[in-house]
Amino acid sequence: MKLYEFESKEIVARYGIPVPRGRVVDKPEEALQVAKELGAAVLKAQVLVGGRGLAGGIKIVDKPEEALQVAKELLSASIRGERVERILVEEKVCIDRELYISLTVDRAARKLMYLVSEIGGVEIEELAKKYPEKIHKIYVDPNIGYVDYMAREALQALKLPWTLLQDLANIMKGMYKIMIDYDAELVEFNPLAFTCEGKLVALDAKIIIDDNSLYKHPELQKLYGREFSGFERKARELGVGSYVELDGDIGIICNGAGITMMTMDLVYYYGGKPANFLDLGGGVTRERIKKALTLMLSHPRAKVILINIFAGFTKLNEVAQGIVDAVKEVGMKKPLIIRFKGTFAEEGMRILKENGITEVYTELDDAVKMAVELARKM
């Protein structure tokens, strides 16, 4: 789960890492007031999408009075499709150089890793493509954690004076603590400013929390799902599985992340477009498929529903009954194409057919082709 910049900075500041003075606001008048307190100010749209700067989400006002108008504009804008509901108003910091530092997970090494670069303010993926030699990596063993020599290596890579060693060490130690205390996947300051006064300040801050650890952090768990769209939120509330909204017209219900993605891919492969990704996970029960299908039958964009269940541990007779339950309850509002394979497939198919559900396949390709064809016709 991504945290907003202002949320990240609240945490970061609590760990003794310098951030610009400022406050988050959701009304233009408040923005004006904060700007007056600060003098020259920066107004930053609080959104979770990346590339905010290029999309006009960051504005500088040299005179506080300008803040009212600028805040009005920002608060009525959308950044890459995301509505701006809050802005962070901060003091304008005099910057000598913009640097990059993050603590992240290296999947290949199975370790944490600091990435530092003397070039900050650009997205790290761009930097990695253009100047890979400008990125210095420092691996962190999970069982040892941060060690002071890492700050010395980072200091050299950042080309900072040795007088800043203790400050940088505190920042890096703080990042590591945040990573562990908050079960984060990423703690990133981009840019980390080397200011005209010769100090280090986290100008931007980004924290991503590991979803699997949210149960340990009730205050964060409450926030989970806030960036979800309508159906993503509904699927979550129903507890039917992982749901991702897409822009096509073929509703998809499968069991297992890989097979769900593959089913999406096959829909595209045969010329269709999926409306969603819905992975029911392992051990699909009658109740779960019923809820999932009921949900998808109400999906405004999905013209047909493609259900692909390859059963190992799951019993397809139960799945069939859940499908029948849903259809009986809300009616077969749109065509259902079903593919069953595995445990009790034949019994499941029999149950479906007895209940008037006839588009039932054994082969995945056949089912997908039929779903695409039907959607095209409608």
Partner: protein, 297 residues
Amino acid sequence: MITMGILVNSSTKVLVQGITGRVGSFMTKMMIDYGTKIVAGTTPGKGGGYVHGVPVYNTIYEAVKEQGPIDASVVFVPASIADDAIYEAIDNGIKVIVAITEGIPLHSEIRFINYARTKGVVIVGPNTPGILTVNECNISIMPAFLFKRGSIGIVSRSGTLTFEVAAALAKHGYGVSTAIGIGGDLITGLDFIETYEMFLRDEHTEGIVLIGEIGGDAEERFANYYAKLEPKNKKPVIAILAGKTAPPGKRMGHAGAIISMGMGDYRSKRESLEKVGIPVAETPSQVPLLIERVLGK
């Protein structure tokens, strides 16, 4: 019996951690029915009884004392205490740990996986369907009856897609030596390279199907590695990748299946693999055709 496959076979003695739970107990029955040597199970505080004829112990220490050394364990305990179960297994000398559990906190995983590696312990998973050496040993939640015995090794980041591929192979007469799910999380105990090296050493495995998906760079790293192998260390590999049409920045079911920070998209993986001579199937039904092509039979 001639043994075949990697990591587990007909002589592997297996312990079930969390054997009295709903899933643990059900899967124990399935594994025993397949012929897997389940020698013991644990559930703290419930020692003394039996589940499907398997003795239940309070601790692995007790299980090992009574049953002798145990080769592998399978973990069916909840995510919040899975790390504890895994440390118990490692510290009691178990060398292969199949962590079925989904949803284990990331930093726990990083810690126990690194610990396991320093002890020479293999973690299969977490968040894996498990491992199956056909007709010998089933430590998985896979529908083992779908797998025909044969000479194809399957290494996969996915569960159900593995079944799909196995079924497609069987339909064309291809059997499987071992099928292993390396897990769907951000961090896993094994990667494609390490698993390939095991298949390379298994003389019964003639070709390998790599089932990848978006997220991370495990497939790209495997391609780089494969390209540098000497011909004598090359067994034919074909791949299938899920998530060609997944949008960036969204977690697709698996914790590890996400295109983020410009990394982990389908195209990069596919190009990397094809560049080094590993054909990539577009659909599961193409897998046996590609296998036929690379094996030349």
